[in-house]
Structures are given as structure tokens and as C-alpha cells.
């Protein structure tokens, strides 16, 4: 007996998580690109589209609760469902960070950026790479991959420090630049936080596979 009904349901849910991961990663990418090219209309659209991410997350949550109520998963099954619930939340938060970047974009408005973006797009790329790998590791139940991912977060942290230093330099030089500089600092902060969220996802992957509660941060 393989519990086909259960297996089908859970693979549907895993498919939803993969999709949510893609959508969130795309939103992150869009938000930073829009910032680079000062695309305010796109930013407004992205803020609206965050609703879709929220909906996807609620749908996943509902599916999980239904599965728990009707199929009474235990052991690995139960850990997986619990992790799905948490990962969906983490992804939704990363979606909120993308939305936050779009808001900062609108806040900066028509003014030009203090400097062309170099490190922020790199941070964004890193964060997205980690995110997609983490979600894949979850679906594949690959604890080793999940353990390797947080290393990449260090680079994001370093880039964050570089961005901080650069922006503080601008502020010291011209106190009038404090608002746009702070906005960019927040953008970098959101990206750095996204990396931390991905680490949480990696922790859930390890928990699902081994039952071990680890702190990778």
C-alpha cells in the first residue's frame, strides 16, 4: 500500500511551493531591475501583484490543513507538511521585501539615483540563486544541498557592508543626500533579510529530512 491519494496531494502541494518560489524570485529580480531603470509604473504594478503571492500562500496553507485534517500525516509526512507551512510563510515574506523595494523605488521618485547600482543587483542575484536552490532542495529532500546553501549568505552580508559604507560616505559628503541614501540602504537591507529567510528555509529542509532542529544563522 503506497497511500496514493496522499502522495498525489503532497506532490500537488510541493508543485505549488516550487511555483511560489519562482514567482517570489521573479518579483525580487523585477524590483531591483525596476529600481535600476527607474521604472515607477512597473513598481506600482509589482506592488499590486504582491496580492497574488499572498493568495498562493493562503492556498498552500489551506491545502496543508486539509491534508492534516483528512489524512493524519505522521513522522516524515508530518514534518514535511509543517515545513511547507513555514516555507510558504518565508516565501511570502521575501515577496514582501520585493514589494518593499518597489515602494522605496516610488519613494525615490523621479530623482536620479545617487550612483549607478553595482553591488545591489549582485546581492539580488545571490539571494535569488539561494532561494531557488533552497526550494529545490526541499522538494528533492536534499539535506546536504540545504546545508551548503547558507555559505553563500556570507557574500550577501559582505556586499551589504560595502553598500552601507558607500552610502554613509555619500551622506557624510552631502547631508542633503540623506533621504535617497537611506532608501538605497533599505533596499540593501531587504535583500540581506531575504538571504536570512532563505537560511530558515534551509533549516526546514534539514528538519524535514532528518528531524533535526538546526540553527544555520
Amino acid at each position: 500500500m503506497a497511500r496514493e491519494t496522499y502522495e498525489n496531494r503532497i506532490s500537488e502541494i510541493l508543485g505549488s511551493i516550487l511555483r511560489l518560489g519562482k514567482v517570489v524570485s521573479e518579483a525580487l529580480k523585477q524590483s531591483v531591475e525596476q529600481l535600476s531603470r527607474r521604472d515607477l509604473e512597473g513598481a506600482a504594478l509589482l506592488i499590486e501583484r504582491d496580492e497574488e503571492i499572498n493568495r498562493m500562500r493562503f492556498q498552500i496553507e489551506e491545502d496543508c490543513l486539509t491534508l492534516i485534517a483528512t489524512q493524519q500525516p505522521v513522522a516524515t509526512d508530518l514534518r514535511k507538511i509543517a515545513s511547507v507551512l513555514e516555507i510558504a510563510t518565508e516565501l511570502e515574506r521575501i515577496g514582501d521585501y520585493a514589494k518593499g523595494i518597489a515602494r522605496l523605488n516610488i519613494f525615490i521618485g523621479q530623482k536620479p539615483l545617487l550612483k549607478p547600482l553595482v553591488d545591489i543587483p549582485r546581492m539580488c542575484e545571490r539571494a535569488r540563486g539561494m532561494l531557488e536552490k533552497a526550494v529545490e532542495a526541499f522538494v528533492r529532500e536534499d539535506a546536504a544541498a540545504a546545508r551548503a546553501i547558507p555559505e553563500q549568505d556570507q557574500l550577501i552580508d559582505e556586499l551589504y557592508k560595502v553598500v552601507q559604507r558607500d552610502l554613509i560616505f555619500f551622506i557624510l559628503k552631502d547631508p542633503g543626500s540623506i533621504d535617497p541614501a537611506m532608501a538605497l540602504l533599505w533596499v540593501a537591507h531587504n535583500l540581506e533579510r531575504s538571504g536570512d529567510r532563505v537560511e530558515n528555509i534551509c533549516e526546514r529542509v534539514i528538519f524535514t529530512v532528518t528531524g533535526e532542529q538546526v540553527d544555520l544563522g
Binding site: 500500500m1 505522521v74 516524515t76 514534518r79 528531524g211
Partner: protein, 259 residues
């Protein structure tokens, strides 16, 4: 076992059981902690009922049964104890409610009377106390002279629990006590177990894994091998066994992937 906390009431050491030449239960070493509920789970024929019947030596009523190894109750070898005394200390509730065709009062008073108590006032006290402990008193206090068979299935099972409590055992064995009951009666029994464990050590065999997960503190999982002999596969705190079992077989069984 490393996880059992507190005093251990029952202990088997290398316990084995045969029906004739057939080894029904392989070497089993297990500590059952006092004032806890220990659930025995596993597929049909895995030896879980046989295992639980060890503790009050009910297996001896079956022809051709042979045992090896040690079984200790509070450190004493149960095979050296007088069987009548052992069964007073280790009570049992069966799968199907089996009240005697007697009045409710006489059902509960049966054990104490068998052990020589004649004083009517003392008996009345014991009957009331036992029925209260079994959460049945309020439902039957006005017709104690009604036949035990006139009660509903769930009430009958609580009557059987009261009957067991009346001889003041230390351990209560329960062989699928709720499998013949409806969900509400089952829930009542499960709630009752939680209050009883304050005073008794409870070992329960159940087919219903959710029930084991709900009621027990420790879970032992038994499984048959290719010769249909029973083996103890895993034993530990219920919370761990049901969230993170150590053995693949346990995982497969409790998550319903057992073939």
C-alpha cells in the same frame, strides 16, 4: 531504554514466547515506566496482545505456550509470584466489554469478594470509589442492582475498568479497550486513561495509531518478520516515535506505507 523517566514498574529482559515450536515473540527487552501510559502498536499477529498478556500470565491459559527470559514486576520475577496474587496486582481490561451477567454492584464487588472481603459496608465503599474512578458513578448510582449487561457498550467497558480498579492493582493492561466502541465512548475511555495514570501504570494495545499517539506517553512498535514471528522494532517517547521514528519500518507503518 534511555528515554524512560522515573521508576520502572514492569521490565522484560530477553523475554521470548513460543506456541509449540513456533516462536511468536522474539527476545524483547523493555522497561515500562510507572504512572505512564505505554502503547503497544503493530500489525495483526505481531505479538502485541501476546506480549501484554505476559504481564498477568494469561498466556498460560493457552495450550502449548512456552516462555524464556525474565519478566519483572517491581523487581520481582512474575513467574515466581502466585498467579492469583499477580493478577490482583496486574489487572486487565479486554477488547470486548465482558461484564458478568450480574448486577452492576456485584460486577464491581466480584474481585474484592473473590479475595475474601465480606463486609458489606467496605464493599459498598469500594464499589462507589471504583465506579467514581471509572467515571461511571453518576450514570449508574441510582440503579446499582441493574444488570451490568443492560448498560451501553461504552458504559460496560467502564464497568469493566471499575471492576479492575476494585482490586486495587498497580498495573492495568488494556487489550484494545476501545475497538468495539463508538467514537464518543472511545473518547471517554481515552480521557479516563489520563486521570487513571496518576494512580496506575497503564499498558494499552491498540490498532488505532492515532489513539496511541493521543493517549500514550511511550510507544512500543512490534512487527512480524518473514517467519511471522513478532519483534520489538522501536520503543521510545510517543512524541518522538510519531514525529521522528528511528527505524524505517516504524516510519512506514505509522505513516500507512506498510505493505
Amino acid at each position: 531504554m534511555e528515554e524512560t523517566t522515573g521508576a520502572c514498574r514492569l521490565r522484560t529482559i530477553g523475554y521470548k514466547l513460543w506456541y509449540g515450536d513456533f516462536c511468536a515473540l522474539h527476545e524483547t527487552t523493555l522497561d515500562i515506566p510507572s504512572n505512564r501510559i505505554t502503547a503497544i502498536i503493530g500489525p495483526s499477529g505481531c505479538g502485541k496482545s501476546t506480549f501484554i498478556r505476559t504481564f498477568n500470565r494469561m498466556n498460560e491459559l493457552i495450550p502449548g505456550v512456552r516462555v524464556a527470559g525474565e519478566v519483572l514486576l517491581d523487581g520481582q520475577d512474575i513467574f515466581r509470584l502466585d498467579v492469583v496474587e499477580l493478577r490482583r496486582l496486574v489487572g486487565m481490561v479486554f477488547q470486548k466489554p465482558n461484564p458478568f451477567p450480574k448486577t452492576i454492584f456485584d460486577n464491581v464487588a466480584y474481585g474484592p469478594r473473590a479475595h475474601g472481603l465480606r463486609d458489606r459496608n467496605r464493599l459498598a465503599e469500594i464499589v462507589e470509589k471504583s465506579l467514581r474512578s471509572a467515571a461511571l458513578w453518576d450514570e449508574v448510582k441510582d440503579d446499582l442492582s441493574k444488570s451490568g449487561l443492560a448498560l451501553s457498550g461504552g458504559q460496560q467497558q467502564r464497568l469493566c475498568i471499575a471492576r479492575t480498579l476494585a482490586v486495587e492493582p498497580e498495573v492495568i493492561l488494556m487489550d484494545e479497550p476501545a475497538s468495539a466502541l463508538d467514537p464518543i465512548a472511545t473518547l471517554k475511555i481515552e480521557e479516563l486513561l489520563q486521570t487513571l495514570k496518576k494512580d496506575y501504570t497503564i499498558v494499552i494495545v491498540t490498532h488505532n495509531m492515532q489513539q496511541a499517539a493521543r493517549v500514550s506517553d511511550f510507544t512500543a512498535f512490534f512487527m512480524t518478520d518473514e517467519n511471522r514471528s513478532g519483534h520489538l522494532i522501536e520503543y521510545g517517547p510517543t512524541s518522538r516515535v510519531f514525529t521522528n521514528p528511528r527505524e524505517k519500518t516504524t516510519e512506514d507503518y505509522i505513516s500507512g506505507r506498510f505493505s
